[in-house]
């Protein structure tokens, strides 16, 4: 699994270009997250792809050839944090609810909704941790699940910033 972080223009069609590129290179994406950055014109992507280092290097270089991709960097072998967020709706009744809560606590999950026959757990962390919780919850009956896919950031002074400043929108654009 390779992790690539990219800064892209925050405008329609860019996600399509990135996805189209990975398809063309026959690289399977495990997860791809996009979100805005502190600069509204720039979005940040975390791409987790099933490929080897050579494939990741090629993907990184090919991504940077796209006009709308400002920077792409393979951070797989650098010290970094990876986080995934999940909402899991589990079947729960009066009897097993306390036991369930206990388990969720161990995984540092939070119960964010309780209904007579179910509850929703919010949990964030590494993929392994979420998979672990999921394993434990499965016997109770997982009714629904939503996961964000991974976001990643290199640790410490290893900064990955968008290149320079994008020119401010023209004054007349107001």
């Amino acid at each position: 699994m390779q992790t690539i972080v990219a800064y892209v223009q925050n405008k329609p069609g860019v996600l399509n270009r990135v996805a189209s590129l990975t398809r063309r290179l026959a690289i399977n994406i495990d997860s791809l997250t996009v979100g805005p950055t502190e600069n509204v014109e720039i979005a940040r992507m975390t791409i987790c792809a099933h490929t080897d280092e050579r494939g990741a290097t090629r993907l990184e270089a090919s991504l940077e050839k796209l006009v709308d991709v400002l920077l792409a960097e393979n951070i797989s072998d650098r010290p970094m944090l990876e986080r995934d967020l999940a909402l899991i709706k589990v079947a729960a009744d009066q009897q097993n609810r306390p036991h369930l809560m206990e388990l969720i606590k161990v995984f540092r999950g939070r119960v964010v909704d309780v209904a007579p026959e179910s509850l929703i757990v919010e949990v964030s962390g590494t993929v392994d941790k979420i998979d672990g919780l999921l394993e434990v919850l499965r016997p109770f009956g997982v009714l629904e699940m939503a996961r964000t896919g991974r976001i990643a950031m290199t640790r410490g002074n290893d900064l990955l910033r968008p290149p320079a400043e994008t020119p401010a929108p023209e004054a007349t654009a107001k």
């Binding site: 069609g13 050839k65 006009v67 991709v69």
Partner: protein
């Protein structure tokens, strides 16, 4: 000054230095055509939009500038797809402008609506939809920059009809390009550079692999200097032909599937390969597992994504070919590789069996004769535009190019039907040059409708059809690999000379070798287009041949057997 979007487009193109537009009108691009009529831009009406893109491509390849093609929405735009992909694979700077339905109709399956930016996303360097008149000038200026910077490529600009019709203030200063600010990678890696220098100065059997990147960089002179200082022999890719004079003793000729045997053998024996502006395409490497196993490899390449893509290299220098070679030059020792060179050329002897050009007239007309005679008569000074197939390989083997941009051919995509329209584009770009089309009877029939364009535009090019009655290269594969089962390759063709006549073009048919030179000479004297139908040997093959996936030195050679009807002894 308030102008319509269509007028802004024409004004922008004019200011960008555009003189010719190859296109075909239609509903969604009509406002632009109305404005074109009032501009000084020369519009060439094609007969099929694929032709427009090939013409723009040929125009770009002949000059190094940007070629412009135009079409309407829907089928007009989809007809461009093959031409766009052709330009993409060969890094040719082409800007395609398409009309699009009005922005309020987008996504409604309106008449002649097609998502052409979606369709062309993987085959353009960049593409964009413009739905606001205010964006036209800036976006078109950006398209020209993208098309012809770094590694060039096609850009498609799709303009909605309402944006063409709406009016806006036209201000050249305010519409300056505003391309996204990208990370500037520091591509200079001193370690890689030093390693390359060391390899260059210590190699005993080095070989340069020269590609089209040298031409795109305009680095011919620096390259020549580099070659002569280091005294390293040069092998050419198909698209590299012309970037280094064929007459130079260090030019060995073409490498690859139909490359010269001594070149392919030299690659396999070399201890160092210096790849400049080429991308180790499968057609030049053969089986990668046994490709140049004795050689260290240096890759000089502008596109980082090409490094280690097909062949793992020992030193990669990312950057413009000319700048990189100039940076290397002061570090390169003057070397003498004459021993290695003698070794390579000594094996030419056994390869020369394919040299049938000096054969006496045996009553048979071979394509090689035709092309070799064409080379002699034109003194190698013509721009030759070829199609794809056997004739293309024979051209590369028997027409010797000394100047850059004199061989125009579809390499990467291998697009049949490319030659005739691309030659029209080349002639528009270089009106003083002698332009020859070398095309097979198959490929010619794909785009021969452009003969009408030639007549309408009063263009003077010469067309040599290498007519063997087969889809020759496919037939050759069937002969070698499918036990001569010629399925769907025998090809009925019209009488090409008579066909030309019906267009108002002079046509000739040549069936014997003695008529080749006189017919070419007469054609050259004409100030109009002449088509010559050369009826050549039907089942001749291109030799040598490295079968797809075979090792580069594992070549099928011209059989030394008179029964094959290809006399081999001088």
């Amino acid at each position: 000054m308030k102008l319509t979007g269509a007028e802004i487009l024409c004004e922008t193109l004019t200011r960008l230095g555009v003189k010719h537009i190859f296109g075909y009108p239609g509903g969604a691009i009509l406002p632009v055509y109305d404005a074109l009529g009032k501009s000084k831009l020369h519009h060439i009406l094609v007969r099929h939009e694929q032709g427009a893109t090939h013409m723009a491509d040929g125009y770009a390849r002949a000059t190094g500038g940007v070629g412009v093609a135009m079409a309407t929405s829907g089928p007009g735009a989809t007809n461009m797809v093959t031409g766009i992909a052709t330009a993409m694979l060969d890094s040719s700077p082409v800007v395609c402008i398409t009309g699009q339905v009005s922005s309020k109709l987008l996504g409604s399956d309106a008449f002649q609506e097609v998502d052409i930016t979606g369709i062309t996303m993987p085959i353009t360097k960049h593409n964009v939809v413009i739905s606001k008149v205010e964006d036209i000038a800036r976006t078109v200026r950006e398209a020209f920059i993208i098309a012809n910077s770094g590694r060039p490529g096609p850009v498609l600009v799709d303009i909605t009809k309402d944006a063409q019709q709406a009016s806006a203030e036209f201000d050249w200063e305010a519409s300056a390009p505003r391309l996204p600010v990208k990370r500037q990678r520091n591509n200079h890696d001193q370690e890689e550079f030093d390693r390359a220098v060391e390899l260059l100065n210590s190699a005993k059997r080095p070989l340069i692999l020269a590609g089209r990147g040298i031409m795109l960089s305009g680095a011919m002179r620096t390259f020549e200097q580099f070659v002569h200082t280091s005294d390293i022999p040069v092998a050419m890719t198909l698209l590299g032909i012309g970037c280094f004079p064929a007459s130079d003793p260090l030019n060995l000729g073409m490498m690859g599937m139909h490359g010269e045997a001594w070149v392919n053998n030299a690659i396999q024996e070399a201890d160092l390969l210096i790849a400049v502006g080429m991308r180790f395409d499968d057609r030049v490497t053969g089986d990668l597992r046994v490709y140049a196993r004795n050689a260290k490899k240096i890759h000089i390449e502008v596109d980082r994504a090409e490094i280690n893509k097909n062949v793992k290299v020992d030193a990669a220098i990312i950057g413009d070919a000319g700048e990189t070679l100039a940076a290397l030059l002061p570090h390169i020792h003057e070397r003498d590789h004459s021993e290695w060179m003698t070794h390579i050329t000594s094996s030419k002897g056994d390869s020369a069996v394919r040299d049938i050009q000096s054969l006496p007239d045996s009553g048979h007309l071979y394509a090689a004769h035709v092309i070799n005679d064409l080379w002699k008569v034109t003194a190698g000074n013509a721009i030759v535009v070829t199609d794809v197939g056997q004739h293309q390989m024979w051209e590369a083997q028997y027409y010797h190019h000394n100047a850059p941009r004199t061989l125009i051919t579809s390499g990467g995509l291998g697009t049949m039907g490319f030659a005739l329209p691309a030659a029209i584009g080349a002639k528009m770009a270089r009106p003083d040059a002698e332009v020859w089309v070398v095309v097979g009877d198959g490929g010619f029939q794909m785009t021969m409708c452009e003969l009408a364009t030639i007549v309408q535009e009063k263009i003077n090019i010469k067309i040599a059809i290498i007519n063997n009655g087969y889809l020759g290269m496919v037939r050759q594969w069937q002969e070698f690999f499918y036990d001569k089962r010629y399925v769907a390759t025998p090809l009925v063709a019209p009488n090409f000379a008579a066909l030309a006549n019906s267009f108002g073009i002079h046509g000739e048919t040549v069936t014997t070798r003695k008529d080749v030179v006189p017919t070419i000479e007469t054609a050259r004297k004409s100030d109009q287009t002449v088509l010559i139908d050369f009826r050549v040997e039907q089942e001749d093959s291109v030799y040598p041949m490295v079968a797809a996936g075979a090792a580069l030195n594992d070549m099928i050679r011209r059989p030394n057997n008179p029964l094959v009807e290809t006399a081999t002894e001088p």
